[in-house]
């Protein structure tokens, strides 16, 4: 059973803002979905090593890439050719 404070905590972890009004509805929906997920408790079998798959590697060689102008062309805030982000501290 997920509580309203669990929902607020999950939203915080996911960096998803949630308004006070939405919390009860999200909580009800979460509980209905998680009730449905309970069917997985009955799944039998251990996780087996994956077979038939191999890694794909390539040499780490420089290749053509976007120009700086193209790379920052969609950013909302730029300064001196760099992308601006919110402060961390």
């Amino acid at each position: 059973m997920i509580t309203e404070s669990d929902i607020e905590r999950i939203a915080e972890l996911a960096d998803i803002g949630i308004s006070k009004d939405e919390v009860p509805e999200f909580t009800t929906q979460f509980n209905a979905i998680l009730d449905y997920f309970e069917v997985l408790d009955a799944v039998e079998g251990e996780s087996a090593p994956v077979v038939g798959i191999t890694n794909v590697f390539r040499e780490d060689e420089p290749r053509p890439c976007l120009t700086q102008e193209a790379a920052i062309g969609n950013a909302g805030s730029i300064e001196n050719g760099f992308i601006k982000a919110p402060r961390v501290m």
Partner: protein, 433 residues
């Protein structure tokens, strides 16, 4: 014969988010053919939104591999089609750009999430389009709108430039009015691309053949059980009867893991989404984040404002399913269930050549009918197994119930996309005659 295609469609179904009034094209196998592209596939110079406000105004600086191949083949890219926000939905109603309507009945949804692509084809605005299918998003709208849609084998079509939702499940695939056009478009897009490391070098180059004499068709009981509208089930049974008339035989098969499929699918796709969608923070693309606020506050406010409720719900579900203390119960169990379902299909497809059933359990819903998320998820029960198993699956129109289209779903062995196309073609040619 290079040139420019003038495109100004009467888009009363709201199939397009962006249209290109002057679409250039070049010489090639699709020279001058109008092709629409789902709005989660990157198109250099053309806005790509994923149906979300968080990418409004985003213009990709590069083409997805499939878009580059379309251009090389001479296709005219005439627009970007509407979709459920980030592919999260089965109705196209979660789009930030308003719902798409079903050309077969405008009071109904076109299905989703590639609802815009399906509606554009069904309304006659384009002959073919690209969609993407994570849990049925090509096949569901193909069935609801009465067109053909193929989800290729996982690894057959490059995902480079597809804006990711759930990488281990999704594939780009062709949609068209006819099986022949689906096959033509598949021949263009299924070419090796080393930039997608989950891809195999198994190009598709095939002309459909209608000869299916001796084919063994598996009919799983799970596809005709509880929750499936009996009239839809009967329509699909009749379609399977047509295949028998063409010399195929039917064999009962069973996919016991089906009872876990939907839960496993939703745990896996939301988990992958919670990671993939972390990149939408208003820093590198989309409407700008407020850089005066602190990091978490700025992101939380932006993502609350610009993601719709279904996207926020799925990101939160995935975050929860992967969180300490719950990952073992949800994510790890879902992976075991997924492997079991793959093995069920492998086993069944040793006995038969193809598996047939309905694409969707019902006909198209009314607009606004699916308000509860769980009831919307449940409608994906017949399409998600093919994504979990990575096998090819096609939906081909097979009749109507309440004058709404019904889709016959045909699933095959991995990398036998050609065979599912052939069986769909045989059916289509027979009922057309």
């Amino acid at each position: 014969m290079a040139g420019t295609l003038h495109f100004s469609p009467d888009d009363r179904c709201n199939a397009f988010i962006t249209t290109c009034k002057e679409a250039p094209f070049s010489d090639g196998t699709l020279a001058g053919v109008a092709v629409a592209v789902k709005d989660n596939i990157s198109t250099a110079g053309i806005q790509t939104t994923c149906g979300s406000r968080i990418l409004k105004g985003y213009v990709p600086p590069y083409d997805a591999h499939v878009v580059g191949l379309l251009r090389q083949a001479g296709a005219a890219i005439v627009g970007k089609t509407n979709m459920d926000e980030f592919g999260m939905g089965s109705t196209t109603e979660t789009s930030a750009f308003g719902p798409t309507r079903n050309p077969a009945d405008p009071s109904r949804v076109p299905g989703g999430s590639s609802g815009g692509s399906a509606a554009a084809i069904a309304a006659g605005l384009v002959p073919m389009a690209l969609g993407t299918d994570t849990g049925g998003s090509i096949r569901c709208p193909a069935a609801f709108c009465g067109i053909v849609g193929l989800k290729p084998t996982y690894g057959r079509v490059s995902r480079y430039g597809l804006i990711a939702y759930a990488n281990s499940l999704e594939q780009i695939g062709p949609m068209a009015r006819t099986v022949e056009d689906v096959s033509r478009l598949m021949s263009v897009i299924a070419k090796y691309d080393p930039r997608d490391s989950t891809m195999l070098d198994r190009p598709y180059d095939h002309r459909p053949s209608a000869d299916i004499a001796g084919l063994r068709v598996g009919v799983p009981e799970e596809y005709f059980g509880e929750g499936v509208d009996p009239r839809v089930a009967e329509t699909v049974q009749n379609a399977i009867g047509v295949l028998e008339g063409l010399g195929a035989s039917t064999v009962p098969v069973s996919i016991p893991g089906m009872r876990y499929a939907l839960a496993a699918y939703y745990v896996i796709c939301t988990s992958e989404a919670s990671s993939n969608l972390a990149r939408f923070d208003g820093v590198r693309y989309g409407p700008a984040v407020d850089t005066r606020k602190s990091w978490h506050e700025a992101y939380q406010d932006l993502r609350q404002e610009l993601f719709g409720p279904e996207v926020r719900r799925r990101i939160m579900l995935g975050t929860f399913a992967l969180s300490a203390g719950y990952a073992g119960r949800y994510y790890a169990k879902a992976q075991v269930a997924r492997r079991n379902i793959s093995q069920d299909f492998e086993r069944a497809l040793r006995e038969v050549d193809i598996i047939a059933g309905p694409t969707m359990p019902t006909v198209a819903f009314r607009l606004g009918e699916k308000t509860d998320p769980l009831s919307m998820y449940l409608s994906d029960i017949l399409t998600v197994p093919a994504n979990l198993a990575g096998i090819p699956a096609i939906s081909v129109p097979c009749g109507r119930v309440d004058s709404l289209p019904v889709g016959l779903q045909l699933m095959g062995r991995q990398f036998e996309d050609e065979r599912v196309v052939d069986v769909a073609y045989a059916y289509e040619q027979e009922v057309k005659a």
